[in-house]
Symmetry: D2
Subunit: 357 residues, 4 copies
């Protein structure tokens, strides 16, 4: 399955290398000598910048390589063997991590949702079904923001989940692989400080927001902090040259770059969305962030694939296909314009044809 | 435990960032769009270069982030639940991976060795002690080259282990975190092609030889190849931007850089060793590579620590200490000269004092 | 939660100790000396009787203690780490084993079903959703017969599942905790020989069919046979005095006792069912075996609970409750008659009341 | 490997079925209806009898099937993923459980000992070698009493271990598969109440002391008590008919049977030992309990094997063999006499031959 690198890609937000300011940060550590395993000054400074940004001086910050790794380290560290995670059935840990959580011994209890978001009622349903020692004990609620279908949580929604979790002794964990894209959405009312106040742990995604690699696991709840570095090492997740991630996060949290990159990605998606809406295209999910799920005629999809890369998400009835378009910090306006233009051309006759029937 | 970054460090070979040619390779992918998860052209080209170098066209090559991660992915992929690994009791998987192999469910059976190296007799002893289903079944022999105490395997030694393994249906796996340093040792008679011919799987270490991060897992034995990408993903070891490692290995295997960097590291160690020998210092291990284990008076060690960083390895009787000195691709001749000079000054009075007794 | 042992219990089919002929078999081994760990002559003879019964001379037979243990040993032995099980969402391994399968590292993929039974279409749906190395690989289909809601598979249904499994390289595994009850159902067209011919592995339940404890894991597919005793030992499932189970299975398969006990249990359930039907009661599941799921007015349920023990299965709308009634090899006709009589009395006014509306 | 059931066996203490009083107890529950999963009145009464015997009203008691199962349930319940067990390298969990502890994810750190017993100094050595997050964290000390080589701990020895454990935050766990045999040794100064006072958890072995099956896990330390029933269920260790074990432990702790059976076993071993000593035979271990390890000429061993069953433990130089002789609650005086007599005959010419050299 060779990569078709010559097409313009809307396949994901991790196709491009890294933002120039991050590459520059890496070049600067090239000749330094740094302490290993995340104990270097870059990691320490970056952790401090994150603590300031989330307004939580007591948080523990660990820099890890990728999202699946971060999720599995967290679950392995936070849960006893019989304790389980509750997630939407579209949750990344449930569907796209090759059973990484189960490989640490924990069950993922899933709930169908229309929009990828958990609600207190959905979580309560899982709790109601688990009452004895013949079943796993639900202990941690996993949410993603943005979700895997591009939707976002409002502050009220996250607050309501938090209240239910506290009532039942559940931890609330937020997968922030695309948290920058979530917070940059127009109309979003959540801040990173809110996230820190409302969850017990979460992570800030770097890989999908301009870094070569790197996620920052933030642990707020004191009970979850102990011995996490042991678990990181045990799971093969402790980077020898930790400064590689630390230096990138320093760059991301200097002068708001973390947010600027996501704002750019969301803006490009908005332009795509407006063009699609204008062309009368419907969407499988109402996603305001940098992932779009338009429903297109299969013939149009096939023609688009000659010039562009993107995921075919799922079939949608006879002759239609949901595709996923993702924009990133590196998506150029030129690329968006080209796509919109090509799409318009392709749709014009298609609709014309449809109209004649 | 803040890093003392201002001292000259002989603490390890992963203190420095990356060789300029690797940083340049990373900068070049900065603006490219690449396929994710190791399916990019850089990873494919680098894998091809490695296959050529090891003279094994059929080998599978997977790029992973670090050594512990590579070891645990390999054991999880290669072994059934009741199968165990045999290792020297100084082996990295036995001592310095926080039980990563056990966390995948497998026992590590250890054997004491004087020099960190397994022999057929030592392996046979473990086999003899494991005969029934009430015990784990030894299935894979783990060796490191260089070993954790800087020693190296000769071609004859590895060939003898290989013969025993074939006789008993054992896999032979070589941890090559420092394989470049092993092959660059003066008098070494092993080539990468030999390693590929004599083992079932091994890895080529990048982190300790000039890369920001990255190890190349090479699988030679067909029976071990299937579904390894599933295991990589499941263990959180699949890098979204796989080109980050692929591009670095392209640079390492272009024009022999991989070997040149190790030759430099070994040469600096040789100079250190010669200076120590000249000063009458004994060593805990007879290591010809880039790790040295001199036995020094504790008072000298303390004074050296004012200006240099290194590991205190273990106490050595009353008033003496084994330390570990490690050189790297980035160790400057100036640093080595400075250390030798300071050491000479410190030892002069020390020996004088000793001589008066 | 103290046991209310003085009420008549329809709670389950493992309330009573063991059939007299099994107790007698245990008494007989009381003074014998037997080889340990299942290598005794009783276990060997019992295994032979089972091989004869299932008409499969090459099958491996392992005697284990309980159902959850048998399931987890089988999954640990049969699957590689990234391979997953497909089960009905009511499957015992999915709901009532406290995550035992996940604790061995494997994901259980569940499918909603109306009647607890998997179909080729349901399995195909799971296969369609799992296509890449970012997801687990479905490898084994788990069915229960009887199912957890008392339904049974026909020979045609099992044959169809088998065909799909063979087409896609899936193993078919049958949880036979209540297989005797399934085969004893009036109209059943499956034999134990059919089960052996259509599945790759299955187990014959003793605990719920007259034994103090004990299940017989039967492995038909050669690829699944190797080293299973290692896995049994590793999971703490190897009984030191294996003859304890072997002797009971000898007794169960002598003169058809295994089938006679289930026939008795099913017959008692049929009498209960007929009484319930006659009283106009509906059922949550159409179960022909020894588990019944009538929908009763909550007030009736409460009154029944004064004299009888049974599970409240789930609420059923306002004022109604599904309960589970289970009969066993030891259920007396007297007990069934008493229950029917009490029920008739309780329902009489209730239906009267209903009729007035 | 068919069992040679016709020879007299000194192979182990679990060859015979069960003591008549236990078989009678099982027959009595044959027609009762009991609550499942260990919540029956027999288990509750037996737990109460044990609490009285150990003088620890607050202890939790769980009835499990076998020793490996009990050990793995305890380790899975008590330890976080990076926490390790310290054991003698002859410890059952280290050698004869097919990696059961590692299969729960935990490393077993082993120490060579001359007599199977841990000491504070040996434990301290392991602690000294484990200082950072790159290594597992030793958290629980595992001792067996009797040990696997038949030796026993004195009260002073256990008290000293306890003190070290408390000093370093280690749990002390005692594997009591043969604890009755340990306490019945002449001169023993430990009581079950002492064991409860000095350890955090331990188990009382039934299988090797007259039961068909069954071990009683006793948890003394409050921090270890929570949710253990979940772990028991998850590991397939929750017996549906828990009364099967409960009723046997009722019988064992009624009128001191538990101790009487072990006293008988130890007495038979003492007679064997005296005969061996009188014949000038040396022992590999100085074991005062029901396991003996005499060093015999291989020719004698071979002749004994015609009439008796026992383990060949290990070779002992040229022409000699250590064998293991085990007596049990069921070993008859006749059997011991027969063995002694045969041995005397065999040794007579053998010593004669030796003397001529």
């Amino acid at each position: 399955m060779a990569a078709q690198d010559t097409k313009l890609s809307f396949r994901n937000d991790y196709s491009e290398g890294a933002h120039p300011r991050l590459l520059q940060a890496l070049a600067q550590i090239g000749n330094e000598q740094n302490a290993g395993y995340g104990l270097d000054r870059h990691s320490e400074l970056a952790a401090g910048m994150i603590r300031t940004q989330i307004a939580c001086a007591g948080a523990d910050v660990h820099f890890l390589v990728g999202g699946t790794q971060t999720n599995l380290v967290a679950m392995a560290a936070f849960l006893r063997p019989h304790e389980a995670v509750i997630a939407a059935d579209s949750g990344h840990i449930a569907t796209h991590e090759t059973g990484a959580i189960e490989a640490t011994g924990h069950k993922v209890l899933t709930v169908p949702t229309p929009d990828g978001k958990l609600t207190p009622a959905l979580v309560q349903g899982v709790l109601d079904a688990h009452s004895t020692e013949h079943m796993v004990r639900p202990r941690l609620v996993y949410v993603s923001n943005t979700t895997e279908v591009g939707t976002v949580y409002s502050k009220a929604e996250l607050t309501a989940l938090r209240a239910l979790c506290q009532q039942h002794g559940l931890y609330l964990y937020l997968d922030g692989a695309r948290i920058a894209a979530a917070l940059a959405v127009a109309g979003n009312d959540l801040s990173l400080a809110d996230v820190a106040a409302l969850t017990d742990a979460f992570y800030l995604g770097g890989t999908k927001n301009g870094a070569l690699l790197g996620e920052a696991l933030v642990i707020v709840h004191d009970a979850l902090k102990s011995d996490v570095r042991f678990i990181i090492k045990q799971r093969g997740a402790m980077l020898a040259k930790g400064a590689v991630i630390g230096a990138q996060f320093q760059a991301l949290f200097r002068d708001g770059l973390f947010f600027d990159l996501a704002t750019h990605a969301d803006a490009q998606a908005r332009r795509l969305r407006e063009a699609l809406v204008a062309a009368g295209i419907a969407f499988a999910f109402d996603s305001p962030s940098n992932q779009l799920f338009p429903i297109l005629p299969t013939s149009v999809v096939e023609q688009l694939e000659d010039k562009y890369e993107f995921h075919r998400w799922q079939p949608h009835g006879q002759g239609y296909q949901v595709i996923r378009l993702v924009t990133s910090w590196a998506t150029s306006e030129t690329a968006v314009e080209a796509f919109c233009k090509d799409l318009a051309v392709l749709l014009a006759p298609a609709s014309a044809t449809q109209e004649t029937h």
